[in-house]
């Protein structure tokens, strides 16, 4: 198997208004690698938007001077996006709720981690200098 190669590497300020363009770059990458159309139009854009907004709003807490980085890695069987923030550790398992229960469905928040897990083939949390959320989309 070939070594995974970096296909995209973007660092932006902690401001949610940059998200849409970064996601559009990633979606283009997804289309050019000929992943299924649905994964490029829905799964990736929504999951990556969630990871980016959590990194900006939760991880970096919108701090001036802190950055968020997205790196795409392409391998033979998958497209992997790492979203890096500069924030404190958190427990991705504990934070994830089920927003579909009758109690939760009326809540205005708490659907981000859930959607990432539903829309991606794999979601991992790696603790490094900050948090790394690794989103994996299989080519299949």
């Amino acid at each position: 198997m070939a070594k995974p190669r970096v296909a995209l590497d973007v660092e932006i300020p902690s401001d949610v208004r940059y998200i849409e363009q970064v996601v559009e770059l990633a979606a283009r990458q997804c289309r050019e690698l000929h992943l299924p159309a649905r994964k490029c139009s829905l799964n990736l854009p929504v999951a990556l938007t969630e990871a980016l907004s959590n990194a900006i709003l939760r991880g970096n807490a919108i701090s001036n001077g802190k950055h968020v980085r997205v790196r795409a890695l392409v391998s033979d069987d998958a497209l992997v996006f790492d979203v890096l923030d500069e924030g404190p550790d958190f427990d991705i398992m504990a934070e994830r709720i089920d927003p579909t229960t009758p109690d939760n469905v009326m809540r205005e928040e708490g659907r981000g981690l859930f959607l990432m897990h539903m829309l991606m083939d794999r979601v991992e949390h790696i603790r490094s200098r900050g948090n790394v959320i690794r989103l994996t989309l299989l080519r299949e």
């Binding site: 949610v16 208004r17 998200i19 849409e20 649905r38 139009s41 829905l42 854009p45 929504v46 938007t49 969630e50 907004s53 709003l57 927003p99 579909t100 469905v105 009326m106 809540r107 205005e108 928040e109 708490g110 659907r111 981000g112 859930f114 959607l115 539903m118 829309l119």
Partner: protein, 110 residues
Amino acid sequence: MSFSISKQGDVVVVDVEGQLIVGNRQELKQKVLDELERGEKKFLIDFSQTGYIDSSGLGVLVSLSKKIREQGGELRLANLNDDLQTLFELTKLDTLFQISDTRERALESF
């Protein structure tokens, strides 16, 4: 990425053009709340020109539906494409909203 508001009979129709996401959801919220404050009661959000919606966009829809109901009004949605339909099903929000296939059907349903 923009929201255009028009009036069809006594229904306020909002077209969401582009994405409804964390970067612009406040704008949609404010526009609808302004109309609600003006006394409008019937709202239709049309997604025929929408790309994708993130969790904070879905959150704004939930919030608006509550606020509109509190004022004795109603919020309906129309024209969810397959991608958006999937999102509403995954989150079970399809059980919370009244969703129509077309704008016409949504307008008739009020």
